[in-house]
């Protein structure tokens, strides 16, 4: 979480220096959702990670330098500059890069889970969906299919109160987590700012998924604490709402716990900062992609290589 917050802060400052092209999205204040969820997944699991979920990439083992290079459109970024900042997934870490169209990846995640099922593998797929994206048909088709075929898939509904400027009250009349059971999907709602609660909920869902007990929709209740993207000052969000959630910052919450366990947080922060500094230097030293390669790779020419397993070095399943 610290790494996510630090990396995004760094990326934002690079953005302000004009070093990150396009626009810039972050998950400030929501770090616990993706960190907690990804921690609960094993190396052999598969993930489709969205735009507020950078921590999941980090947990999978994607190197910070490659993430910053990705933001800056450098050759050493995960997509080599082909796709924009958060639109990536490291296929060598079991991740499928998201598309902009939300929440298309829910259907893809079903396919990942279906592959496990058809091969008799005990593993699971995880993806995310925003409160806004829950209004789209793909949400429904994916949940219905997962329910009827009892796929080992976990959908994290990241309810951060807003979809761009649209509050949930204009998005749905009833919280979509309520829909889960009407698809034959287990539905649970957790505090998305509590990393351990997220971990526990997804860990349980993952156990069930891998054991053939079907899909789960985990609602993570949280708040988008920054604007939709860097250009958005989110003046449409009531101040009290921001204050309410600011007091519930996920990193503060987790820091308190760790302190009680005797963890040296200052040292941790120093380590993270040092890693980010190094990553930043490495990324800045990476060249821009060669324009002569712009047309390469529209088609796969050789053998199709499938997704590889993640590193998931801190996974709750690492020793399972």
């Amino acid at each position: 979480m610290l790494m996510m917050r630090g990396l995004e802060a760094r990326a934002l400052s690079l953005y302000k220096q004009g070093k990150v092209p396009g626009s810039f999205y972050d998950g400030y204040g929501q770090e616990a959702v993706s960190a907690g969820a990804a921690f609960a997944m094993a190396a052999e699991d598969r993930l489709c990670i969205l735009h507020r979920d950078l921590a999941a990439h980090i947990v999978r083992g994607v190197e910070p330098a490659r993430i910053l290079a990705q933001y800056m459109g450098r050759a050493s970024g995960i997509t080599g500059g082909r796709d924009g900042n958060v639109h990536f997934g490291d296929r060598n870490r079991g991740c499928v890069g998201m598309v902009s169209m939300l929440p298309d990846m829910m259907c893809v995640a079903n396919g990942l889970a279906l592959a496990f099922k058809l091969r008799g593998q005990k593993a699971a797929a995880l993806t995310f969906c925003g409160d806004g994206a829950s209004s789209r048909g793909d949400f429904h088709e994916a949940l219905n299919w997962a329910g009827v075929q009892r796929l080992g898939v976990i959908f994290v509904l990241e309810n951060n109160q807003y979809a761009y400027s649209t509050p949930t009250s204009a998005q749905f009349a009833v919280d979509p987590v309520k829909r889960a059971e009407t698809y034959g999907v287990r539905g649970v709602s957790v505090d998305g700012n509590d990393a351990e609660a997220m971990f526990a909920a997804v860990h349980e869902a993952r156990t069930r998924a891998a054991n053939g007990e079907g899909p789960t929709l985990v609602e993570a209740q949280t708040m988008r604490m920054h604007g939709h993207a860097a250009h958005d000052d989110m003046r449409y969000v009531p101040k009290e709402l921001v204050e309410h959630w600011a007091a519930r910052d996920p990193i503060k919450l987790q820091s308190k716990r760790l302190k009680e366990l005797g963890v040296d947080l200052d040292a941790l922060q120093r380590d993270v900062d040092a890693e980010i500094d190094a990553a930043s230097q490495e990324a800045l030293a990476s060249p821009m992609p060669d324009p002569d390669t712009a047309l390469d790779g529209v088609f796969c020419e050789g053998e199709a290589t499938e997704l590889a397993d993640g590193l998931a070095p801190w996974s709750g399943w690492a020793h399972a």
């Binding site: 396009g22 500059g81 789209r136 761009y164 649209t166």
Partner: protein, 319 residues
Amino acid sequence: MPELTYLQAISSALRDELRADERVFLLGEDIGAFGGAFKVTHGFHEEFGADRVMDTPLAETAIIGTAVGAAVSGLRPVAEMQFADFIACGFDQLVNVAAKMHYRQGLAVPMVVRLPSGGGFSGGPFHSQNPEAWFMHSPGLKVVAPSTAEDAKGLLHAAIQDPNPVVFMEHKHLYRRVRGEVQDGIYTTPFKARIARRGENLTVITYGAMVPAALEATAELDGVEVLDLRSLTPLDVEAIVDSVSRCSKVVIVDEANATCAAGAQVSAVIAEHAFEMLDGPVKRIATPDVPIPFSPPLEAAVLPSVTRIREACDELLGY
């Protein structure tokens, strides 16, 4: 006459229609109080209220389908996709429900779908597309693509007043870069091509963001005509043939991916109907068949550039 940007011209057309015709209403994601991702509807919410500048759920299929229902009921919906790319999510409702309704059922569907399109600012594969050819290949849809502020307003008025579903391609890269004098009040621009610059040695046929690029590329060349198509469906075949007949040499420029693009259709029209007037091959400049990459050097390598247009013209002039 006030000078407006391309974006302001679009806003102005929407505002004037909302004021003049109570049947007109707008719907889309974040277009209400927020004023839209590009601020096209900035301030509209205050003037017209939430019913006529309607924030919708994040649901492109429903946006198009709802607009169809409202249109056949006698309203005049103007739907916005936040980016043109997202029309893929409402594709079926547009090409199957809206487009075919009048032919099948004799029921008119007077609606407009606004598609902020095009690349040039590191939008990446999902915020840079020019999908107009999909809709040219879908009978029952009209497709227009203004290149100037004046036409942006006039074509949008005409689109809203048209009794058919019209896909309105507004190029994001022109929003604030292009400005010009724009007539006050409501006026309509016909769905016909316009000669952006007259010439007699070669004609560059193009539309949208490639019109300023073509004008720039050929500014110093001798006698190069630039034909701005403005409307892609209907396609102004007469103007194309006329221009080719006078100039005998043609370069077609398209920002969209090359295969089966608008430019391919223009070329086919010429090869069939103006073959005898041709004094050289029909050259095409377009984005190759590749998703639009994000990183600036890659994007610059694939989008048609002023230089590439210029080189093609030089080459053909020397043919």
